[in-house]
Amino acid sequence: MSDLLLVVFDLVLLVGLLGVAWRCLASTDLFRAVVLFITFGLLLALAWVRLEAPDIALAEAAIGAGITGALLLVTLERLRSIAVERRRGRPDEPPDPAGADALLHALHDPPPPRRTFVPALTFALVVGGLMVTALWHQPDAVGLEPVVDEHMGVSGVDHPITAVLLNFRAYDTFLELAIVLIALLGAWSLGRYDRLPARPAPGPILPGTLRLLVPVAIVTGVYILWAGSHAPGGAFQAGAILGAAGILLVLARPRDLPMAPSTPLRLGLAAGVGLFLAIGIIGLFIGPGLLGYPPEWAYPLIIVIEVAATLSIALTLVALFIAGRPAGDDH
């Protein structure tokens, strides 16, 4: 009975995922698409749970619920305020050939154009058919689980995912951290910090909520980081939670955001990658190889790397949310 219910649950979840994804992509109203995307993140987290990947569900919860939704909403508002600026008609700007309101209206439900479903349907059928034929003949492989289990003793931690991420395949994790940093450098190179559009929120609810939630978020982030050594959790998830706490603070006072001091900010942003690389190079000389640790030192080294990576990821996410390098930083 419970097996049957699980199958029904999976099927309903699958239908919901596909339906929400389709409506999200096909939506002509950008705000509706954003809300559908938030819902999609929730359903996706449930799907990861059903695929027995609670680590990824945790990451999806932290990033999908906390950060992406806020990021997309703020981006939409930025687009809208740009459109309003344009509508007001600056004298130094050439008039918009499509009409002054075109951009503003493009953000809201324009009439859907007449379209045919034949290309989309053909594409879906072809891609679906290819995937089915490719996956049909997959042998029922056990994967790398036995190999990982065999070497857990030398990994320094008790959770296989953390062992793979920070010991056995540390190189991949290092590159992921580097990519996050490079993404921020890309955002910074595009322009200076531009104030977020915001309307005043009168009343005590917002400050009160922040006073309660931000400390709880910090405690939860540290807990998830600590849990990573023996249960689902770790640096990426903890960094995303702390980053979401920072984003809450940024959203609370976008007009008078205090600028972070430049040097500590940069040190914090680079700490994860820098420390990871330094420990990796030390491993090249006294350990088994690049990014390899001596087994007796593995646990403390992994903890040091994870703490630094958490700090860097949290700072990077907040900086990416603000987008643009801090003002007065060009000399």
Binding site: F9, R32, V35, L36, L42, P54, A62, R80, V84, P197
Partner: protein, 105 residues
């Protein structure tokens, strides 16, 4: 008891799919956002029920993170949304074509 928990989780998932009608039809932005917030609460409950049935205590952490961070999107909505919108958008029609006081900003 497992069957009961799973049935409850399935029912809650069905309510999410039903609630999608509010997201799709609106009419106002607030209706859509509130529906998404409600999905967040429902998702927390589904995660807790699944954690009991699948015997995966780690799912409680996922539920905790969801409950904690669902508010970020709501704060972003409250702080950001409501800047001038063009006339003729659903939110204006809903409030009887009332002109927003900050419409000229």
């Amino acid at each position: 008891m497992t069957v009961f928990y799973l049935g409850a989780a399935l029912f809650l998932l069905a309510t999410i799919l039903l609630g999608l009608i509010r997201v799709l039809r609106g009419p106002g932005s607030g209706d859509r956002m509130l529906a998404a917030q409600l999905f967040g609460t429902t998702g927390v409950t589904i995660l807790l029920l699944l954690s009991l049935t699948l015997e995966t205590p780690a799912l409680v952490d996922v539920a905790l993170v969801f409950a904690l961070l669902a508010v970020v999107a709501a704060v972003a909505f409250v702080r950001q949304h409501g800047l001038p919108e063009p006339s003729g958008t659903p939110i204006h029609q809903r409030h009887g074509q009332k002109k927003e006081p900050d419409d000229d900003r």
